[in-house]
Structures are given as C-alpha cells and as structure tokens.
Symmetry: C2
Subunit: 195 residues, 2 copies
Amino acid sequence: MRSPQFHRNEENRPSPRIPSPHFNSTVSVQKLRSFNTLILIFRFASFCFSLASTVFMVTNSRGGSDSPNWQDFDAFIFVFAANAIVAVYSFFEMLASVWEILKGTTVLPEIMQVWFDFGHDQVFAYLLLSADAAGTALVMTLRGTDTCTHVTAFCVQSGISIALGFAGFMFLGLSSLLSGFRLACFVFNGSRFLL
Amino acid sequence: MRSPQFHRNEENRPSPRIPSPHFNSTVSVQKLRSFNTLILIFRFASFCFSLASTVFMVTNSRGGSDSPNWQDFDAFIFVFAANAIVAVYSFFEMLASVWEILKGTTVLPEIMQVWFDFGHDQVFAYLLLSADAAGTALVMTLRGTDTCTHVTAFCVQSGISIALGFAGFMFLGLSSLLSGFRLACFVFNGSRFLL
C-alpha cells in the first residue's frame, strides 16, 4: 500500500511531459512583449530620423529671391512628403506599440492590425527609399551647377536631410521585417504570439 | 453480438478523421508546383522588363561628340547596373524554378534556397527601386535643360528605360512576397511545402 506521504509528493511534483498552460502563456506573453519593445525602438528611431529629415528640408531656403528654395525642386518636395508621412505613421505606430505593451491587446482587431502594420511598413519603406534616391540624384546633379557653387549651404542641408531619410528608411525596413514575422506567426499559428 | 458483416463494413469504411498521408503529400506537391509556376511567371516578367530596360539604356547615345551619352550621368549608370543585375539574377532564379518544378527538389539545400531567394529578392527590389527613382529625378531635372530641348530622343529613351525598370521592380516585388511566404512556410512548418 502506498503511503499518504508518497502520494502527496507525487501529486505536488510538476509533470515534465505536460507543461502548465499558464506557464506557456506567460512565456509567450513575455516573448511578445520583448518583441514589441524591439519594434517600438525601431519605430522610435524611424520617427526621429524622418522628423529630423522633414525639418531639415522645410528649413532649407535662404530667404533671398535669387536663392534656391527646396520647393522649386520636385524631388525635394517628394523627400519632404515621404519623410513627413513616415514620421506621422511611425508616431501612431509607436502609440499602438505602447498600447499593446501596456494593455496586452492590439488597437485594431488582431487580424487587421498585423496586416495593416506589415502592408504599411512595406509600402512606406519603398516610398521613403524612392524619395531619398530621387533626392540623392538631384543633389548629385545640382552639385555641378551654379546652385551649389553659389549657395553651398543649400546643397549641404539637402544632403543632410536625405541622409537622415535613409537612416529612417533603414529602421522602417527593420520594423517591416519584424511586422512580417508577426504576420507570418498569425497566418501559421492563428495568433500574433510568437512560437 | 455484432455480425461479421457489420464488422467488415466498419473496417473497410475509410475514416474521415485520419486522412491518408499519401493523399496529403500529393496535394502539397501539386500546390507547391502551382506556386512555383507563379513565381516562375513573375521572374520571367521581371527578367524581360529588366533586360529591356538595360538594352534601352545601353543604346541611349546619339553618336556625336556634342550629343548627350547615358554614361555621362551617374543616375543612368545606376539604372543600367541595377537592371542588369536584376536581369542576370532573374535569369538564374528562373532556371532554379524550372529545375524545382521538373525535379521536385531545390538546387541548393532547402534552408539555403529559401533564405537566398527571399534575401536577394528583398535587396534587389530595393536596389532597383532606388535606381529607377534616381533615374526619374534626373530625367525630370534634365527636362528643363538644353539636353532635353536639343536631343528630345535621349530623354524619351531614358524615360522608357526607367519605366521598364519600374515594371521589372513590380514583378520582382511580387516574387519577393511569394518567396517571403515560402520562407515563412519553411520557418513555421520546417518545409517549403505549403500549408
């Protein structure tokens, strides 16, 4: 006959074969929180660089009627617009990430949120890259002309704005990879919670 | 007591709960083949457009010493190089797709193949888009100058080359989405075979 002591021990011993659902869930929640924190960092970096790029481009006029103005060049308007869009988007995505980290749920329904994030990350990353590439081509063309010879600061400031835009693109691209992974988790596991 | 007839019927009746592994595998193979055929179509389109873009750019010089030449512009050299790289890459990826459709196995080991495809699709899509955006900015700048006023054909041909490059990018982007899905299948299911 088994002693009561032995029986109690056996009952209290956790089974290694059947992990507790609560334990699993806690690990998933912690993993997801770390993952969301990483996305938040990338989105914050993307926001900062895009905002800085927008500000550098907007303030890029020298005041005189003969001086060049960024609004005279289509490619610079494109750089400004793309960076402004990405800055606004990154700001709202940051808020959504903070909400998710604090509340544990997505702002939109889960399926909409994961598709929204990935789709917009992809489109805006392509948009920002094409704007910055167009801006780079324009700056390189201007470099051999009077515009850059007479008003050097205009070209330097344009170059800085574009470089900041490229940095913003880099972090947006990283966010896009992570949101793609989250979407894949959702498609294959039916939940944005990681493996 | 159960009759032998009843017993036999029960044994012969196929169970709806446990599908035959062979049936599943055949469906997966067929799905994968259709999927690979779709990728092959996109890669073929991407190859055609990039090659056409490369040819249009290379032949874009008017012969005279005063006439503009595509090699005088960095952005056009970038358009040529990016399209040439994508054309070569798409050609080899087409061969790899045909191999996979015919033989049923990947050219490289499966894990390398899915990562190689997705990584290169992403990088080359970004490369091609930035080249075409830079080319567009240059063409728009040139449009107001003597280069386009005197030699209209040069600017028109550059524009066509860039437009073809954008079409190539579109199909490369679609391939990238599909190869991303295949990679996700591999990461989550341990096999490139679809769900």
